[in-house]
């Protein structure tokens, strides 16, 4: 087992090295004129502490943009591995500071969505699989498909129209209400929570379909297995067949992908956060990307890559833990 994990970790490190290189090469190949132009524009913003040349010098020092692409990459890798990502051009504070400021909003949003999605999707998927080709099955399948097929921005706009504009239950965007500062501490918490409802709903609608289909497919596979037929043949009640024999086996692929999606809680929801102006990591990185803030963008890309790799790694390890057959092979 430990050999398996070590091998996987080493492969991950190797992939990480090359992914970072590709990302670095992409940024490196941006025309100098573009980099200089954005640096100049951002340095003229009010409240900027550094001048245009200082930004570029810092970029060269920490990102090695003035060297050739390979040695420049090692310069950047060594400084970023030491946690030094430089100062954000757009936010004018160190990149890591901006990250700490925003990450917990994204995490909170992601966690709520993750929990709700799991709680709704898995039972629905199991029910749909048990009653294959029934009305319930078709409804669940079609709804799941609709959820998967809707673009995030369309769902978000529809929800805004219904709940924010027509019904007026929530604010259309933003994280705090108008009288946020006059509220008590508990009131402030509920105010922010209320502003998270629509983004969370959007993410659930978009994301729930995939998990539901996955659960249904895996449950069906398990239900067709020989041991279920055996369990039924020996006269076990259906609840026991489903609850003990089938569901436990369904859990193997489920915990794998759920575990694998845990690191994703930190990656933020790029489009949803932007549309609802939730100041999470996704919103921050969207602004930095659109405004050509290279330090923050590099950081965000590195972060997403690490999280994806970590997700894959966790999924692999969980799979090996949950299913001994994998370890043998």
């Amino acid at each position: 087992m430990s050999k398996f994990i070590i091998k996987r970790v080493l492969i991950c490190c190797l992939i990480f090295f090359f992914v970072m290189f590709i990302i670095y090469a992409l940024m490196y190949s941006l025309p100098t004129s573009y980099v200089e132009k954005t640096a100049r524009q951002l340095s003229q913003k009010p409240g900027t502490q550094k001048s245009y040349t200082e930004w570029l010098q810092e970029l060269n020092a920490e990102y090695g943009m003035d060297k050739d692409v390979v040695s420049g990459y090692f310069t950047w890798l060594s400084s970023s591995l030491r946690g030094n990502f430089g100062d954000s051009w757009y936010y004018t504070i160190p990149v890591t500071q901006e990250f700490q400021k925003t990450i917990w909003y994204s995490f909170a949003l992601g966690l709520v969505v993750f929990i709700l999605e799991t709680l709704i999707a898995i039972p629905l998927g199991v029910v749909a699989a048990r009653k294959q080709y029934s009305m319930t099955d078709y409804t669940v399948t079609v709804l799941a498909m609709i959820g998967i097929s809707m673009p995030t921005f369309f769902v978000a706009t529809l929800l805004k129209l219904i709940f924010a504009v027509k019904l007026g239950w929530f604010d259309i965007s933003g994280m705090t209400g108008r009288n946020y500062h006059t509220l008590s501490q508990a009131g402030q918490f509920w105010d922010v929570a209320k502003h998270f409802v629509l983004p969370a709903l959007t993410l659930i609608i978009i994301g729930i379909g995939g998990l539901m289909r996955y659960t249904r497919t895996n449950t069906l596979e398990v239900l067709n297995a020989d041991y279920i037929r055996t369990a039924r043949a020996k006269g076990l009640p259906e609840s026991k067949v489903i609850g003990r024999h089938a569901f436990r086996n369904t859990l193997i692929p489920l915990i794998t992908i759920l575990g694998g999606s845990l690191p994703g809680l930190f990656s933020g929801a790029l489009i949803t956060e932007t549309l609802f102006s939730i100041r999470g990591i996704g919103y921050a990185s969207y602004n930095s990307m659109v405004n050509g803030d290279i330090p923050f963008t590099m950081f965000y890309l590195a972060l997403i890559s690490i999280l994806t790799l970590l997700g894959n790694l966790i999924a692999d390890i969980l799979y090996a833990l949950a299913d001994p057959r994998v370890r043998v092979n």
Binding site: I11, M145, S149, P151, M289, T308, N312
Partner: protein, 688 residues
């Protein structure tokens, strides 16, 4: 028994068989009871049993017709801008009271000093202030011009034909006379012994004034019997022959009053001060070189234009009462109710001279005389009451608008009896920066922006005045094209990479699979956003952007296909038919393309169909963020983005963004349903 040939026997048997079948007698083990379907037919049969898949196919069929065929028959294109006439409140006219004089050059041959020309207004104003009819203006180079008032508001400038006739000097101290010393001390020139005698006689007689050489003098007693002698009044020194007494009196009076000119003996004179003395210049106006006037000609018929020649001649003859010729036609100016009206030779009214200038909003003189008079009345009232805003009512012809094809047409409305229908229009006047601005409701030719659904535009028009339905069609075209091109690109790359990895195995497989891992890990949406904002900054064209976007989507998307193809090939490679193919010794090329790839195709088609949906979502998301396909190309994403920027727009334009969003959703759902249906049809064992 007749002997039959074998052929005949067979035919008979066939007949019997056919008869049996017609009777419905089919043996239980008859092969005809079983309908044998080809694999393709089987897949097709299983596919059409799936209702969701059929729904998907119908939707896709509709989308293709809508995006690729319908635009051929739809009259509008995606970038066509529509216009309309609307009754809106906007600037109609500007009026101003002209106070500055405009020069009209009469004689092109003789150049008038430019300084004099530029300062003509101040020269005229100072002449008017002095109450003079004529004056002289001296240029820096010494040329003397005569400025002559032809009448109210019209002045002529000519070379002065007169000359300096005299010099005037005001009263001045001559000197002092000491009675004790009996000596005269002159301040200036010695006036001779006779002067002292005359002075002494006057002192002896006790008269304070005395005369010498026609010049009056006064004396005043100072200390120690010293008398100060002063010449009394102005003195005139003639340049040529002395002029009449009337001239002298008038000249002296003018000097006393500090006037700039006077008239004597029917001739006008101007006083011009030079160092020490004041010269009297006679004014004899020559041939006018230029006319200076505040007046313009307002034509009665606003379609007629006034030539510069006509303006010059009219101004020249405005007060002469003489008929004159301009541009080969006879005109005459007559005075009516204090206004100068210009008539043509046939007695028709051509226009009138006015310094109240009314021009339409674009600065052209196209307005009716009646309107101008009404405007003058309103402005005069405003001036009288001292307010800055006012209004008046004027009758404009009432208009109606309708469409001829796509072009809006404006036509005059008519009453039941056929006469032109008029509409009372309230015109608001406001005084701003020296001008009187007149605004009213009027018919304007406008871009038909944000029009609601109508018979001409089923879904209305967008904020650029383009037809929404047309843009929906063309947007669908782009979305579907992007989807297909990207999927073809990523499938192509994926099949090659996955095929190589799966077929050759070993270190090649390992290398390519690590490459797949790497590409799996690269966050594609952030990279597309960066690319989009970079292309924004570089201001790339709409089609270039599209090409770049498709290329990047394809390059970032092949890893999934490669992984799938490799897995399939790995499992197929071990199967018996491949071993058989190898055993028969057919070439590698044929083994791959004839035996291996056809077995991968079902899986590929399923993935590609589902992939189409996700590419369309990605493309529309990018376009929605403004980083994908750009104006003027239409795409579903940008169409939604342009109408959902604010709360009000979300409500106001539901009829635009909900149908467009539904188009995206239905297309993607349909692709997913068809993909699912295909998968189930290809491999019923996998059916879930």
């Amino acid at each position: 028994m007749e002997r039959k040939s074998f052929n005949e026997l067979l035919k008979e048997q066939e007949r019997l068989e056919a008869k049996k079948q017609d009777d419905g007698h089919v043996a239980l083990d008859d092969a005809k009871r079983i309908k044998v379907l080809s694999p393709g037919q089987l897949v097709f049969k299983r596919f059409i049993r799936n209702k969701l898949a059929i729904f998907g196919v119908c939707v896709l069929l509709f989308m293709f017709l809508f995006a690729f065929i319908a635009p051929l028959f739809y009259p509008y294109t995606q970038t066509q801008v529509f216009f309309k006439y609307d009754y809106v409140n906007s600037d109609y006219a500007t009026a101003s009271l002209r106070t500055d004089y405009t020069n009209h050059i009469l004689n092109q041959d003789t150049a008038v000093d430019s300084f004099v020309q530029r300062n003509i207004t101040s020269s005229i104003e100072s002449m008017d202030a002095a109450g003079l009819e004529q004056t002289v203006v001296t240029a820096e180079n010494g040329t003397v011009y005569a400025l002559q008032k032809l009448g109210e508001g019209i002045y002529a400038l000519s070379l002065n034909g007169g000359s300096k006739v005299a010099a005037l000097s005001a009263s001045s101290r001559i000197g002092t006379y000491s009675l004790l010393a009996k000596t005269m001390t002159y301040d200036g020139d010695d006036l001779g012994g006779g002067f002292v005698d005359a002075l002494r006689q006057a002192i002896a007689a006790g008269t304070t004034g005395f005369s010498f050489n026609n010049q009056a003098y006064t004396w005043e007693l100072g200390e120690k019997k010293t008398y100060t002698v002063t010449s009394a009044g102005a003195s005139v020194q003639y340049t040529g022959a002395p002029l009449s007494g009337e001239f002298e009196t008038a000249a002296k009076a003018a000097l006393e009053n500090k006037a700039s000119g006077f008239t004597a003996d029917g001739t006008a004179y101007a006083l011009s001060k030079t160092s020490g003395e004041t010269a009297v210049v006679s004014i004899v106006p020559g041939e006018p070189l230029l006319l200076s006037s505040v007046y313009v000609i307002d034509t009665t018929d606003n379609t007629k234009t006034v030539s510069e020649e006509l303006t010059r001649q009219t101004l020249l003859n405005a007060y002469s009462g003489q008929p004159f010729e301009a541009d080969g036609q006879q005109y005459e100016v007559k005075s009516e109710n204090g206004e100068r009206v210009l008539y043509t030779a046939d007695g028709g009214e051509f226009g009138l001279l006015t310094n109240f200038v009314v021009r339409d909003a674009s600065g052209k003189d196209t307005l009716e005389l009646n309107f101008k008079e009404a405007a003058l009345k309103a402005v005069s009232k405003m001036v009288e009451t001292g307010v800055n805003t006012g209004s008046f009512t004027y009758q404009f012809p009432d208009m109606q608008t309708h469409f001829e094809g796509t072009e809006p047409v404006l036509a005059a409305a008519a009453n039941a009896d056929g006469s032109a229908k008029m509409r009372d229009t309230e015109i608001a006047v406001s005084f701003k920066a020296g001008n009187y601005q007149m605004t009213c409701f009027q018919w304007k030719h406008l871009i038909d922006i944000s029009a609601g659904p109508s018979s001409r535009h089923t879904f209305g028009t967008d904020t650029d005045g383009m037809d929404i339905l047309a843009r929906m069609m063309y947007g669908g075209r782009i979305s579907l094209c992007v989807g297909f091109i990207v999927v073809i690109l990523e499938t192509f790359l994926g099949v090659i990479m996955g095929g190589i990895a799966g077929y050759f195995g070993g270190w090649v497989d390992n290398l390519i699979m690590r490459l797949v891992d790497i590409f799996y890990c690269i966050p594609s949406l952030p990279i597309l956003i960066i690319l989009g904002s970079f292309m924004d900054a570089m201001k790339l064209g709409a089609y270039t952007r599209l090409a770049y976007m498709m290329a990047v989507l394809g390059i970032l998307g092949w890893a999934g296909v490669a992984r799938l193809v490799r897995g399939q090939i790995l499992s197929l490679r071990e199967q018996e038919f491949m071993i058989a193919a190898e055993a028969t010794g057919i070439r590698v090329k044929h083994r791959i393309f004839k035996h291996l790839l056809p077995n991968v195709m079902p899986q590929l088609i399923v993935t590609a169909t589902a992939g189409l949906g996700s590419v369309i979502i990605t493309e529309s998301t990018l376009s929605f963020l403004g980083l994908g396909v750009k104006h003027p190309l239409a795409t579903w994403g940008t169409m939604i983005n342009s109408v959902t920027s604010s709360n009000e727009n979300i409500i106001k334009y539901t009829y635009i963004w909900i149908p467009v969003g539904a188009l995206i959703c239905f297309t993607v759902i349909a692709f997913n349903f068809v993909g699912d249906g295909l998968r189930d049809a290809f491999d019923p064992k996998m059916k879930r």
